[in-house]
Symmetry: C2
């Protein structure tokens, strides 16, 4: 997948939403769609959609539009959803278990191998079809299975140290729920820092703004 110019971050962040909408359209039985129709559905401009898709080489057809199957295939490939990535989850507390029980990792391109927790009471239990192992086994597990990314649902104060260890052991990406902003881009390890509170604060602001 060669690129003339580095694709901007803004475009990358729109890709999951495109993918989601295309999946929905497929589920609805739609076989093709024009940039205009998709724009209307998603609340964007047709221009933006065409330009976004063209960052990766045009996969539409003039006078016809975009074929849903092809679009889904291409977007999935760009997102790397077909790469068979694997993940482990570190910290099976409330938050970790909530993810295990509720979140469909496979829909985002990951197979969740197993979870780890320091609490011996959790050892051997399973949540959402994922079993919990002792943290002691973590290094050997990583060495043996080489998971791509780690989901961090540990207490915040441990985040920097654990993150560093994981990266040293070969983890190549972090989905970080600890509240601590981690930046390991310098090490070539992408991190997605999740802050639900940011979203709610934004909503708080927007609600206040509607009063003016």
């Amino acid at each position: 997948m060669e690129r003339k110019q580095e694709v901007s971050k803004a475009v990358i962040q729109r890709l999951p939403r495109y993918y989601r909408n295309i999946c929905e359209l497929k589920a609805e039985g739609v076989q093709r769609i024009s940039s205009r129709a998709l724009a209307e559905r998603m609340g964007l401009t047709a221009s933006q959609i065409r330009q976004d898709f063209n960052c990766f080489g045009g996969f539409g057809q003039q006078g016809y539009g975009y074929n849903i199957d092809k679009l889904m295939e291409e977007l999935g490939a760009i997102l790397g959803l077909r790469a068979g990535r694997t993940a482990i989850l570190i910290g099976a507390g409330n938050l970790g278990r909530a993810l295990l029980n509720n979140f469909d990792f496979s829909a985002s391109g990951f197979k969740l191998l197993c979870a780890f927790d320091a609490n011996p009471e959790l050892k051997g239990k399973a949540f959402g079809g994922c079993s919990v192992r002792s943290s002691d086994d973590l290094p050997s597990f990583i060495a043996a299975h080489q998971p791509d990314v780690a989901v961090l649902t540990i207490p915040r104060k441990n985040a920097p140290d654990i993150a560093r260890e994981l990266v040293d052991q070969g983890i190549r990406g972090l989905w970080n729920f600890t509240g601590e902003d981690l930046h390991l881009g310098g090490l070539g390890v992408p991190v997605e820092n999740v802050h639900l509170s940011d979203s709610l604060m934004t909503l708080c602001h927007l609600v206040s703004a509607t009063e003016e």
Copy 2:
């Protein structure tokens, strides 16, 4: 709080992160900070920070920097965290309960009044200090207490209808976890659509991108 020009969405979305970092600095006992030091800490440019803050009228002091207490106060006010907003949660299934048990609503400016669920078995139970009521009581509760926002943790297929009802009854903002993208801006009701999967797909892409 008057604004010469409408503040851009990009700035608004940075505010929660600023607020978070300022809170951390306060907790660390820091009393003042320069735009340069804050920029270094947050991985931004000093210019951007000064310009962002100046959208709301300068609250720094030349030659001194920004006073942490004042900054926290101002950012909190802009975000509306001091407005005493109230929230209700609709749908006390797995996801709803995970939020009730784990998420600190008050840190984002909301007092969570109670939760609602159609399942009679949940009626009267409490999670994270929040009790569950019957969905039948929802209209009268909203009329009586006039909560500002609703947290949607119901099944996706019900989202559009329920959202519409809530708005009709006076709800002024939605924190939407249903997976369905809701757009009620036309009705003057802001919505934050939360899609955890987007974040994980982005990570998947970034991990793939590091291989090239």
